[in-house]
């Protein structure tokens, strides 16, 4: 019983972690490089 609860908590924790990462990837600006010279 205890083991089951622990696994459940771990899974939930993992799920939250992944959601955080997902959120991060959506909100972070994308790097747009402009290679240029003036002449």
């Amino acid at each position: 019983m205890i083991r089951t609860i622990t696994e459940s908590i771990l899974k939930k924790s993992d799920l939250f972690h992944r959601e955080d990462e997902k959120e991060k990837s959506v909100t972070e600006p994308i790097t747009f490089e402009v290679f240029s010279d003036y002449v």
Binding site: F35, S36, Y38, V39
Partner: protein, 187 residues
């Protein structure tokens, strides 16, 4: 202007990278005939095409007879970027060269340009004399080589690229194709 529009419409972080197009150009500059000497290049054709592109994009273009060494301008641009004035400085240098025909390889031309966008001229001179941003530009040049850049401007997002002066719509399509969605809200 097109980059400003992109920044407004998309959540992108623009990084200007200095590219060495003609790094061998001496301080006093070269005429286009000298620059392309010995090469089967139609200079009048190049100028004509450049003018067509400028007209299409609504960009001002003066009589371009010489090319100059852009290295110091690139180094000063790195300083302007660090001061939050990168876009204004890039525009000032492009205008100085393409519209006014100024020698952007000279400290005496570059320092007043920095002043014209609100940066201290004395500090600009010091940065150019001490070559404070030499390593930053060296790093960009190495990055250009590593990425296989051969022409400018080249726009890159995550290993995908578009080359050449492009209208805004082309750049927007490029961003869309890279999976970047337009910001929500009124245009």
């Amino acid at each position: 202007v097109r980059i400003d529009q992109l920044k407004k419409n998309f959540d992108i972080d623009v990084h200007w990278r200095a590219f060495p197009l003609h790094p061998e150009t001496p301080e006093q500059g070269l005429t286009l005939e000298e620059l392309f000497a010995g090469q089967p290049i139609d200079i009048k054709g190049i100028i004509s095409r450049l003018r067509q592109v400028a007209d299409r994009l609504g960009l001002p273009l003066g009589e371009r007879k010489k090319t100059y060494n852009s290295r110091l301008a690139q180094e000063l641009a790195k300083w302007a970027e660090s001061e939050g004035k990168g876009d204004a400085f890039h525009e000032a240098v492009f205008r100085a060269y393409f519209v006014d025909g100024k020698n952007i390889g000279k400290v005496d031309e570059l320092a007043p340009l920095a002043k014209s966008i609100g940066l201290p001229e004395k500090e600009a001179r010091s940065i150019l004399e001490l070559r404070t941003f030499k390593e930053a530009v060296d790093s960009d040049w190495l990055r250009s080589r590593a990425q296989g850049i051969t022409a400018v401007p080249t726009f890159i997002i995550d290993h995908q690229s578009v080359v050449g002066f492009q209208p805004y719509e082309v750049l927007e399509t490029f961003l869309n194709n890279c999976g970047i969605k337009k910001r929500k809200g009124p245009d």
